[in-house]
C-alpha cells in the first residue's frame, strides 16, 4: 500500500506520515477505507479458494479430493468468511468509508476514532474466527447458520467461532452508528436530503439495519455459547426449550443482513448507471425511498427461511405474504435503472458492464427468490442446490459484481492511476459466462432434487455437477485476469486525473487522489448528484 507514488500532495503523502503505523492507527476515513478494502477483499479471495475446493469435490460422485468431515468444515468456513468477513463489512467498510464522506462534502466521518476502532474490532473478530479453525475440536462443521441442536452438540470449535462473529458484529454496529451520525450532521452546505447521492441513501438505510438488527445476532450467539458451555437448555425441547426459537432469533438478524449486503450494492449501481448513460437517474426519489422500504420490510420477512422447520401455518402465511412485499421496492429499483438506460448515451466501460450484469443477475436471483418465498414451491426446493444458486445469484451476481463495479469505478480515484480497459472487459466476460454456467446449473440441479451440503450425490447428477465445476474454473480465470489488470493498473497504470468518467457527485470535484481533508475549501452544493450539465462531458 505504501508503494503508490502520485506526485501531487494527497492523502497518501500530505501528512508526511508513512509506514505501517501511519495506516493501522490512522483516523483518516480514506486510509481506514483502504484497510477495510484490503482486509475484506483478502478474505473474499480466501472464500473463493474454499468455494473452488468445494466445487472440485463435487466434480464427480463419491470422494474426489476430501472426505465428508472436511467438506462440512469447508462449506461452513466458506460461508462464515464470505458473509461475516467479506460482504457484510465489505461495502460499508471499504467504499462507504472511502467515498461517503467525500460525497456529502465532509472532511471525515463524525467519529474518526470510533471508525478506526471498528476496523480493529473487525480484525480482532477475524483473528478469533481464524483461531477457531486450528484449535479445540477443529473448524466448525455446522454451516454458517450455526443451527441448534447440532451446533450445541458438535465437538468442533463452534464456541470460539461464534464469539469471533460476535466481535465482528460490534464492528458492524459501530460503523452503522458512525454513518447515521455522519449523514445527519456533516453534510456540506446545500447538500440537502434530496441531493444526496443514491449510494449515500443506500448506506444510510443499511446503517439503520446494522444498528437495529445486529444486536439480536450478538445475543443469539451468546445464547449458543451459553447452551454449549453452561448447558442452559434454551433450545433443547427435552428441557422445555425450543430449537425453532433459535432459527427465529438467527434469521431476525440474518435476513436483514442480506440487505446489509445488497443495499449498498444497489447504491453503487444507482451511481454508476447514470454516469455511463450520460443521463440523470430516473425516479431519484423512488430509488431513495425504496432503499428505506427494503430495509424496513426486509426486516420483517425472516420466517421465510423456516417454512419446513415446523413453524405454524399462520406464520408461514404471514411471512410468505411479507416476503412478496419486498419484491415491490426491489422491482422499483430495477425498473428505474432500466428507465435510466433508455435513450441514454451508453458507454460500455468496465464499471458499466459490471453494473449492467448486476441488473440481470440480481433479477434472476430475485425472481428465483419468489419461488422460495412462496411456501408451496419452497417445500420442494428447500435445502437443495436451488437455494445455493439463488443465494449466489443475489449476493455474488448482485453484491459481488457491484463490488467489482465499485472497484473499477472508484479505486482509480484514490490511486490516481487506472486499469487497462480491454483486459478488464475480457475479465468481465469470463466472469459473467463462468458465473452463469456455474450457478444456473446449480439451480437446475436443485430443481432436480440435489440436496445442498452433501459431499456425495446420486449418479444422475454427475454431468450437471461437472458442468458447474467447469463454470467455477471459468469464473476464477476471469477473476485472476481482473485482479492482475486492476492492481497492476492502480500501481503502475496510466494516470487517472480530473473527472474521466464525467461523474457529477462531489468526489469528482476534488483532486485525484483526494487530499487528507478531502477538499481545498468546504464545498457548497448547488445541484443534484446526477446533473451532468457542469461536468464538461457532452
Amino acid at each position: 500500500m505504501t508503494t503508490v507514488q502520485p506526485t501531487q500532495p494527497s492523502f497518501w503523502n500530505d501528512t508526511g506520515k508513512t509506514g505501517l503505523a501511519a495506516w493501522i492507527f490512522s483516523t483518516d476515513h480514506k486510509r481506514i477505507g483502504l484497510l477495510y478494502f484490503y482486509s475484506t477483499f483478502g478474505f473474499f479471495l480466501v472464500g473463493v479458494l474454499l468455494g473452488l475446493l468445494l466445487r472440485i469435490e463435487l466434480m464427480a460422485p463419491g470422494r474426489t479430493i476430501m472426505g465428508p468431515q472436511t467438506y462440512n468444515a469447508l462449506f461452513t468456513v466458506h460461508g462464515v468468511v464470505m458473509i461475516f468477513l467479506f460482504i457484510i463489512p465489505g461495502f460499508q467498510g471499504s467504499f462507504g468509508n472511502l467515498v461517503m464522506p467525500i460525497q456529502i462534502g465532509a472532511r471525515d466521518v463524525a467519529f474518526p476514532r470510533l471508525n478506526l476502532f471498528s476496523w480493529w474490532l473487525y480484525i480482532i473478530g477475524a483473528v478469533i474466527i481464524i483461531t477457531s479453525l486450528f484449535t479445540g475440536g477443529g473448524p466448525p462443521d455446522t454451516g454458517w447458520t450455526f443451527y441448534v441442536p447440532f451446533s450445541s452438540r458438535t465437538g468442533t470449535n463452534v464456541s470460539l467461532a461464534v464469539f469471533g462473529v460476535f466481535v465482528v458484529g460490534f464492528s458492524s454496529i459501530l460503523t452503522g452508528l458512525n454513518f447515521i451520525t455522519t449523514i445527519h450532521r456533516l453534510r456540506a452546505e446545500g447538500m440537502t436530503w434530496g441531493r444526496l447521492p443514491l449510494f449515500v441513501w443506500s448506506l444510510y438505510a443499511t446503517a439503520w439495519v446494522q444498528v437495529l438488527a445486529t444486536p439480536i445476532l450478538a445475543i443469539t450467539l451468546v445464547l449458543v455459547m451459553a447452551e454449549r458451555l453452561l448447558g442452559t437448555g434454551l433450545f433443547d425441547p427435552g428441557r422445555g426449550g425450543d430449537p425453532v426459537m433459535y432459527q427465529h432469533l438467527f434469521w431476525i438478524y440474518s435476513h436483514p443482513a442480506v440487505y446489509i449486503m445488497i443495499l449498498p450494492a444497489m447504491g453503487v449501481i444507482s451511481d454508476v448507471i447514470p454516469v455511463f448513460s450520460r443521463k440523470p437517474i430516473f425516479g431519484y426519489k423512488m430509488i431513495a425511498f425504496s432503499s428505506i422500504a427494503i430495509a424496513a420490510f426486509g426486516s420483517l420477512v425472516w420466517g421465510h427461511h423456516m417454512f419446513t422447520s415446523g413453524m405454524s401455518d399462520t406464520a408461514i402465511l404471514v411471512f410468505s405474504f411479507l416476503t412478496f412485499i419486498v419484491a415491490i421496492p426491489s422491482a422499483i429499483k430495477v425498473f428505474n435503472w432500466v428507465s435510466t438506460l433508455y435513450k441514454g448515451s451508453i458507454s460500455l466501460d468496465a464499471p458499466m458492464l459490471f453494473a449492467l450484469s448486476f441488473i440481470l443477475l440480481f433479477s434472476i436471483g430475485g425472481l428465483s427468490g419468489l419461488i422460495l418465498g412462496a411456501a408451496a414451491t419452497d417445500v420442494h426446493v428447500h435445502d437443495t442446490h436451488f437455494v445455493v444458486g439463488h443465494f449466489h445469484y443475489v449476493i455474488f451476481g448482485g453484491a459481488g459484481f457491484a463490488f467489482f463495479a465499485a472497484m473499477h469505478y472508484w479505486l482509480p480515484k484514490f490511486y490516481g492511476r487506472r486499469y487497462a480497459e480491454k483486459p478488464a472487459i475480457v475479465a468481465w466476460a469470463l466472469m459473467f459466462v463462468g458465473f452463469n454456467v456455474m450457478y444456473f446449473t446449480m439451480q437446475v440441479l436443485g430443481m432436480k432434487g440435489m440436496p445442498r451440503r452433501y459431499y456425495d450425490y446420486l449418479p444422475e447428477f454427475a454431468t450437471l455437477n461437472l458442468v458447474a465445476t467447469i463454470g467455477s474454473w471459468i469464473l476464477v480465470a476471469g477473476l485472476i485476469v481482473m485482479l492482475v489488470n486492476l492492481f497492476r493498473g492502480l500501481f503502475r497504470g496510466e494516470p487517472f486525473v480530473g473527472n474521466p468518467w464525467g461523474g457529477a457527485t462531489l468526489e469528482w470535484t476534488t483532486a485525484t487522489p483526494p487530499p487528507t481533508e478531502n477538499f481545498e475549501e468546504e464545498p457548497v452544493v448547488t445541484h443534484g448528484p446526477y446533473d451532468f450539465r457542469g461536468t464538461g462531458i457532452p
Partner: protein
C-alpha cells in the same frame, strides 16, 4: 445526564415510592397469571407486564420522561423495532 434543555430534573421520594409500589404490584400480577390456564397467552401476558414495568423504570428511574424529544424518539424506535420482532414470532408461537 442532562437533557436537551439543559435542566436537571429531580424526582421526589413520594413519586419514586409510588413507582416502586406499582412495580411490586405488577410483579405480583406476573406470579398470579402463571397460576391461570392461559396457554400461549401466558407468555403474551408476562411480556405485557414486563413491558409496563420496564416502561415505568425507563420513564422515572432512568428519567426518560424528563428528557428531550430526540432521545425519546431514538428509544421509541429501538423499542418499536424490538416489539415488532417479538410480535411477529407470535404468529408462530401462538398457532403452532
Amino acid at each position: 445526564m442532562t437533557s436537551d434543555t439543559g435542566a436537571h430534573h429531580i424526582v421526589g421520594y413520594a413519586k419514586l415510592a409510588q413507582v416502586w409500589l406499582a412495580l411490586l404490584a405488577l410483579t405480583a400480577l406476573t406470579v398470579l397469571i402463571t397460576r391461570l390456564e392461559l396457554g400461549g397467552y401466558k407468555v403474551l401476558g408476562a411480556l405485557t407486564i414486563a413491558c409496563l414495568k420496564s416502561g415505568l423504570v425507563i420513564a422515572f428511574f432512568m428519567h426518560m420522561k424528563y428528557e428531550g424529544r430526540l432521545l425519546r424518539w431514538l428509544l421509541f424506535v429501538a423499542l418499536v423495532t424490538l416489539a415488532i420482532f417479538i410480535g411477529l414470532t407470535f404468529f408462530d408461537v401462538l398457532y403452532r
